[in-house]
Symmetry: C2
Subunit: 467 residues, 2 copies
């Protein structure tokens, strides 16, 4: 028996599974309304659809047991890390069990000599970097939120450092996964590269929990650069800022971070983070290297920025100043939300070939103006990736419709520019119509993979695509 689409609840199976799990896990199973709600989607405009129960797992063995019980009774499973995903990945549209792995938060091993480590999926990126502090190493992927590494793997997360260090796809060496029948597999050994069969590691990275539950992750680490310098640089308009980014990438400057914030976002950040940056389109940049190397990069970037009318900017190599700068960038989402108290952010995510970035952002700003929305723009511009957070009153259907329209226009535009409707947030529930438009016939292959690996459709059903 498989969970049917359109999605329906298997009431008897759920009741039986919850009863068995309650007996087995005692107080580590919760059916309280607030816990359930907190384990559904909570971050954006997408409606909360809570699971029927939450089990707090502490080991791979326990995850395997839970999955077997759910499989026996045809009950959906939704893996949960920190709940920071943005496209409804955690919702349980036909009910089922949320497996909360936040307690699986041990750093299993660090191999400084091999520049890698092994972690449980509930370890967060900040926790890992704190743990690594004395090793001279760090884990570079930084989506802003202090997300769990299991969740980051599942959504193929990236963020500010991706322009230099890649995304989760590039930084996961191997995974331990509990498959939908409760078996435990390892996708790869710890060698830096391999041609040993199908690349299951990258099949599970970005699968959004629809093919199995990640229970252990082997990650590449990086040496902390000898020198790090950061700066903030204002531009007369967004196009000038984008064109600076394009030229920086095209010149091969190995910038570690290059982030775009539009005027509205800068106003929001100044207010929220108590800063006094010029309220103009701005790039936040960071360079990593040797002392000489980082200085050389900064100098070249400065020349490019000046060509496009970039204002004077001050460099800092002091860690606390850099931390303040990047905290403000990471708080951009909350800062934006604070622009309109009571509103919810309708987050979008698009990524285009770098040469199209200025066009895509400019046309998007025209849309925002035409629709009369309050919608600041931020972006991991070095990858051609940007976000718009339309702040809307969820009780006003006309506003919701406008935000949907904006999101649809951005997705269509990015796809028309040979880009994608999601650079890093994933598909979840929110982006499904656009995925169909973007990859069309390839979805049949994805569906065949899903049906083969999860024939009952119990792993996070209703995500990525209709079957």
């Amino acid at each position: 028996m498989a969970i049917a689409e359109p999605l329906t609840r298997n009431e008897d199976g759920i009741a039986t599974a919850v009863a068995i799990l309650a007996q087995r896990f005692g107080e580590r199973l919760s059916t309280s309304g607030s816990v359930r709600e907190q384990h559904g989607h909570t971050t954006t405009w997408i409606q909360n659809q809570p699971p029927d129960a939450v089990v707090f797992a502490t080991s791979t063995q326990e995850v395997s047991e839970i999955v077997r019980i759910c499989a026996d009774h045809h009950v959906p499973i939704v893996p949960f890390g920190t709940g920071t995903s943005l496209e409804g990945h955690l919702n349980a549209p036909c009910g089922g069990i949320s497996i909360d792995v936040s307690g699986m938060n041990r750093v299993v091993a660090v191999h400084p000599e091999d520049l890698d480590c092994v972690v449980e999926p509930g370890v967060t990126r900040k926790q890992l970097n704190e743990y690594l502090r004395d090793t001279g190493l760090f884990f570079p992927i930084d989506p802003g939120a202090d997300a769990s590494l299991g969740g980051m793997a599942s959504t193929r997360a990236s963020g500010t450092n991706a322009v230099r260090y890649g995304t989760m796809k590039d930084n996961v060496l191997g995974l331990q996964v509990v498959t939908p029948d409760g078996s435990v597999i390892r996708t790869a050994q710890r060698a830096k590269k391999s041609s040993a069969g199908y690349d299951l590691t990258r099949l599970y990275v970005g699968a959004e929990g629809t093919l199995g539950v990640i229970t252990e992750i082997t990650l590449r680490l990086q040496g902390i650069p000898e020198a790090i310098s950061a700066a903030v640089c204002s531009f007369p308009d967004v196009e000038a800022a984008c064109n600076t980014v394009i030229a920086t990438i095209q010149h091969g400057i190995p910038v570690a971070r290059i982030e775009l914030l539009d005027t509205l976002q800068m106003k929001a950040c100044n207010a929220y983070s108590k800063l006094d940056y010029p309220e103009m389109p701005t790039l936040f940049v960071e360079f990593h290297g040797t002392e000489a190397g980082a200085a050389e990069q900064a100098e070249r970037f400065g020349e490019i920025a000046a060509e496009f009318g970039g204002g004077s900017f001050s460099w800092t190599t002091r860690e606390e100043e850099r931390a303040k700068l990047w905290q403000a960038r990471h708080d951009a989402y909350w800062a934006a939300s604070a622009l309109r108290p009571g509103a919810r952010a309708f987050a979008t995510d698009a990524c285009v070939p770098i040469s199209r970035l200025a066009d895509c952002v400019r046309e998007t700003m025209e849309d925002i103006a035409e629709l009369g929305l309050i919608a600041p723009i931020v972006g991991h511009a070095g990858d051609g990736n940007f976000h718009v957070s339309a702040l809307i009153d969820m009780n006003d259907p006309a506003e919701v419709e406008k935000a949907r329209d904006l999101s649809a226009r951005i997705s269509a535009r990015a796809i028309a520019m040979d880009g994608t409707c999601t650079g890093e947030h994933g598909i979840g529930q929110g982006k499904q119509p656009y995925l169909e438009r973007e990859l069309g016939p390839a979805l049949d292959v994805m569906r065949a993979v899903k049906r083969a690996l999860d024939p009952q459709n119990i792993m996070n059903p209703g995500k990525i695509m209709r079957l």
Copy 2:
């Protein structure tokens, strides 16, 4: 009807398909013995198993037609690029049709502003770099042979530059694939990153033609570095050379190439390429960067090498000298083969976490001595990847057995060290027993994917794993 395992020939289906294809493709279908033999495996000790016919395809549409005809008649398909794979990937153990895509060798588009290009699968890496010559860009992946990019994608190839630029998995942005029912899909748009559904790109990269035929590839390109310097450095023993590599990687020096050749291999190279390098364990290295950056890297590397007893070495930035150096490295396989005229090379390929490289190579040399084999060692040491070419008389069963024993020992050792039985050659026919040992239960997931995407088992059957 599916092709059964153990593999059997579908005589009637093959005869019918060959007749239909002959009518459709005329002289572009060949059943000549020499053409067929040349399209089976030809490079190593593995026995040649020719296809029944070879079709020279010129377009995606034609590949789709051929696949449909083969699918209709349950006939195996083996995609062919340049024939340089090493593990029997091109053999047709139950007959069928070789689709030769070497004529699909157009560079479809170059997008210098986005640092990417689109090519047909028969374009070779040298052809692409020749084509790119005036753009200031290059494609870095370099497995030695002038392989086709379709073949390189299919085997997840890497080679000398991978230590800095990654492998094919990191450098393919998207693929066009003809699936086993003749449909044509695209796996991704041209954005630099994406979270749009399952990572089909990386499912087909390394699938060795067992899931579909790659008919177009979008590749990332790199800017040609402002400065390139290369050098050759000798060491008192292999361990000292390996330890220099380990320290170089651990210090985060972004070396572009760092290649190990043992004493026997250096003798072979001197003889074959008419060189006069010291006949000692040697590293060939190359640095890419700005003038200052490359010089800084070289200086730091020199300090490390000296610590481990590395001899004096001369740097060169002259292109023709570098070309000569790397040609000698690329000819290492042929140079090794020439050490024992009439012998065939029994090529191995292992990759271990970098900290275990010296141990793995030392223990392997002890095996070679114990078995009394002539077997030089070369390696992409910066990735922990090395090869041994045992030169054996294929008519002497005792020698063949010794070479098999050596290969089995190396694979088992690499796996025991948390490494892989293949860093870059792939599984094909030759490495199947070791894949089972390396990933065990994960093979059930690979089999499920294979059965779902190729239910008739017509795409390159008998490769990677038994179903």
